[in-house]
Symmetry: C2
């Protein structure tokens, strides 16, 4: 036992007993007691980073809270930070003022691009930041074998990741068909989680009945994919923690709200899964969801439990999640219990200061240490061809729908010129390409999409779930090549070109997924991209989000990977031509 640890504990005992003044005391707090779901009027004594006492205290530094509410810092139980397009440093800087002090993330997007170094980068950049960032080890990289990602994580790799500091368990097991069919590698990964006695998160949309029982029996402890009351109730009763998701894209809170009871609420968490930068800036993070669920009618203290102690209990984080002795002094102060708006945040016993740059490692160091993260776009453009020989007349076309990740497969006649199928903006049938971008293999999946409404130019992104190849939709091959060239040059991101000119672009130089710029800049540039897209005829509100899911062959019904068209229902590649 280190001398320092012992001395620290002794000092805490002395301050707790009031033998010496506490380092810092928050006077006159209305404390949210997350153990008994009650409110309590008292002072909070803090020694260093740690809460040492709740009661009547005096401190060397005293802050009068004048009866304001004080609750534990908010904990995000499930998010892919990459969804914010912000690097961990920028992400934590953005969410911290909203009261988030702990983030449990699944870095499976960056892991698909850069493997273990990608995960290590997330941990490294998060060190000393405004929030504690914990990682769940990505369990499904790549998501399927119908595509090529930048990295694969075997069960052996998973074990390596689990041994890293700040890694809590195994991230969402999305491959539930693999669980049910007893896929060897999948079972190995689950057995690993079980033998290490770490939490294993689930992802099983719609799974119920015997298949759900089989899935849970492997040790999977949570699910954030419930979309109906019946599904959520069954999962809770079968022993899963219910992660009620209310992200920027998928929103289940209103639907699932009736499931939460006084009896089961301690097994329910509120999570986001994904968050877009403009929403984080304008609406907030966990505070946004808290306000919403309270507005729906949930008792505010119960709601707070769902983003504090319940998260701590679910992931075995005994050092936080409550205002009680021995726990980290991560605190949120606010005035109105019915409309929680964080006013002051305490982070590890100190007032959170916007201007304090806390991340310890510079971008230069990061770039040097994680070259694959900062140099992730490898495409040999000269060798690519967007030609689609017209071997038929009727093609399987992917139909996107407004704000839905599910696509339809429809059969349409396509425009043919000189023996090649080409984009037909008039009919809103556009060429779609998914270009492998990790190892410059030259792989390209080619087909057609309808529903975007783009009339001119081309639009491309290095964000494409989950393998993150380049997805491009265009009215002509020249602009398609140009946007890809742009993304190669800028090391990843989003771009729109028209008539041989780049109209707008967002640099995502971290694995082609995230920016090192701050949230305001990213949101601003992103809004410009959306405006340009609209100007060019795009009819969906966020074409980049829709595009990023065009390549995810686990969401029905027709998708495109770098290997070609995928019929998700049969989980096989299929041919573009019907006849």
């Amino acid at each position: 036992m280190e001398k320092e640890t012992i001395e620290k504990m002794k000092n805490q005992i002395q301050q707790a007993r009031g033998l010496v003044s506490a380092d810092c005391v928050l006077k006159n707090c209305t404390i949210v007691d997350v153990f008994c779901a009650e409110l309590q009027t008292a002072d909070i004594a803090i020694c260093g980073e740690i809460i040492v006492g709740v009661g009547e205290y005096s401190g060397r530094n005293e802050i009068d809270c004048k009866g304001a509410y004080v609750c534990p810092g908010f904990m995000e139980g499930h998010i892919h930070i990459e969804s914010s397009m912000l690097s961990p440093k920028q992400f934590t800087k953005t969410v911290a003022p909203h009261g988030t002090t702990t983030v449990i993330c699944d870095p499976h997007e960056i892991a698909n691009v850069a493997g273990i170094p990608g995960v290590e980068y997330i941990l490294e950049e998060s060190k000393g930041s405004e929030c504690s960032v914990f990682v769940m080890a990505p369990s499904c990289v790549p998501a399927t074998n119908l595509e090529n990602s930048g990295a694969k994580l075997t069960s052996t790799n998973l074990e390596e990741i689990l041994d890293l500091e700040q890694v809590l368990g195994v991230a969402e097991m999305m491959n539930f068909p693999g669980v049910l069919s007893q896929d060897e590698e999948v079972v190995k990964k689950l057995a690993l989680g079980k033998s290490k006695k770490v939490p294993v998160d689930g992802h099983a949309p719609g799974l119920m009945g015997k298949d759900l029982q089989a899935y849970i029996g492997t040790g999977i402890q949570s699910d954030h994919e419930c979309s109906t009351v019946a599904e959520a109730k069954e999962k809770l009763s079968s022993g899963m923690y219910l992660f009620v998701r209310e992200g920027s894209t998928a929103k289940n809170l209103e639907e699932l709200y009736p499931v939460i009871t006084v009896q089961n609420s301690h097994r329910c968490l509120l999570v986001t899964d994904d968050c877009h930068p403009e929403e984080l800036l304008n609406e907030g993070h966990m505070d946004r969801i808290l306000r919403k669920v309270i507005q729906l009618g949930l008792d505010p203290v119960t709601a707070i439990q769902m983003v504090t102690i319940n998260v701590a209990d679910c992931f075995g984080l005994k050092d936080r999640g409550a205002i009680a002795p021995g726990r980290i002094a991560d605190l949120v102060i606010f005035e109105d219990l019915e409309d929680i708006r964080p006013k002051t945040i305490f982070r590890r016993g100190e007032i959170l200061n916007d201007n304090k740059v806390t991340a310890r490692i510079s971008k230069d160091e990061l770039t040097h240490k994680y070259p694959d993260v900062f140099d992730s776009v490898h495409v040999n453009l000269e060798k690519l061809s967007f030609d689609i020989p017209a071997v038929g007349k009727i093609a399987r076309v992917i139909q996107v729908k407004k704000n839905q990740l599910i696509t339809e497969s429809i059969e349409l006649p396509v425009r043919i010129l000189d023996g090649f199928a080409i984009s037909d903006p008039q009919q809103d049938i556009l060429k779609l390409a998914v270009v492998e971008r990790h190892n410059a293999t030259g792989n390209i999946g080619l087909g057609f999409v309808t529903g975007f409404g783009l009339k001119k130019g081309a639009i491309a992104s290095t964000v494409g779930h989950d393998s993150h190849n380049i997805t491009v939709v265009g009215c002509n091959d020249r602009d398609m090549a140009l946007v890809i060239e742009t993304l190669i040059k800028q090391g990843g991101g989003l771009a729109i070109a028209c008539d041989g000119k780049v109209e707008a672009s967002l640099v995502l130089d971290v694995a082609g997924l995230m920016s090192t710029d701050d949230a305001a800049e990213v949101a601003e540039t992103f809004s410009v991209l959306l405006k340009v897209a609209t100007k060019l005829g795009v009819q969906v509100s966020d074409p980049f989000m829709l595009m990023s899911f065009l390549s995810l062959p686990v969401i029905p019904h027709l998708k495109m990977t770098d290997i070609g068209l995928v019929d998700v229902d049969s989980f096989c590649h299929t041919s573009l031509w019907v006849e």
Copy 2:
């Protein structure tokens, strides 16, 4: 990952999905869902030892439960098995038919006698028994430095114990004054628990306010010593799990019952702390407490949660505590939810069979392997003297009270003969000796006790909290020597002698604390001892229990150790004579 583990998981998935028949199915169960606190009608499918599914199942072996209630096996969160005077094998055999399938024990009694080998013995004899026995590593051996025990456990020893299999954490930190005064060894032990991230149990009767905050801040997560509503509420709100104790001696259930609410019940457990053999036989174990708390008015399902999932959650035992896939098939079947009487017990997927001898190791092997456990009484009787030179007239006499562990210190004139103070049965002032019995040091603490009412003979025991020296109370020195001689010969236990003849005795050959005989025999012999004691004039209902606490210098007000009289209030030895 072992091949076997993988194959097991695959097999479980297949049976859960219903692709093949389950090994065993309990049909038509009314299942207690401890996650949502609801009842559910369904079948339970079991593969080997593990529950794989709840739903509609068919099995190779089917048992029709005809609508009976089925709940998870009961879990005891805090007990000293030694209090039952039964060896672990006999204890588990006794409690298992009452529905107990998991026992978390603190073997601090045997640890005081035999140190680490004592703890190892408990684990070894529990292997393969009717219950899973987990151990919390004893934190306070010896209890004080005012006495001599058979062994001492330093923080280094504690670390060794924590590394043993089946050891969950650090047992009750009884030395709360040591915590508050930042005793180096105490702080080291607590820091050890914190650094290993294991549960640390508490024991802090009456501790509240700032001192409680200091105590909890060291990482202590539970308390089973609450005796008032205010104390229990404060401890719950400060983050402790509330262990509501209802043992054979200390009973707090009625007093604490009003504390339990729907909001906090998941942080409450029911525990016994200590259990006497006749009560285990006649009244039961956790089922006894369940019936009582339900009778008091608690919702039966909430009550069941307090001895199943809450215990599992508190100690991080994710593999049990609920009827859900992936958990051990420890089940209790019963007919009446308002009056829970276990009818059939499933232990690891099989019906518990009374006749099945499950402990794997023989007594001979145990004796050979743990010599210090089975040869624990070392006293050189010839060198002992019970003489108390009459250096004064008025002595500090320990006054025992009916069924109370607290004693009073009263000043009384004692009978003097030939310059020596002697027993005075007429006035009920009897000689009391505590004889060191571990290392034959010859230490003997001598004094007087009143309140027993013994008129003739002497009574002795090798059970004496927590150092377990020999405590003897007698009307004359000859019978006192005789009972001690008896205990030496039989290797520990309880004995009564009168007029130079041994009237009755109970052999406790396991560390002088436990018997290898079964509960019925132990209870029968014990009842004979009580009858003989009554015949000889004893007026308290259980003189052995009272005697066993006469030497515990942490309970007010006047106690006796092998070093002499202790004034507990000043926590110092004191002289026998007032004047």
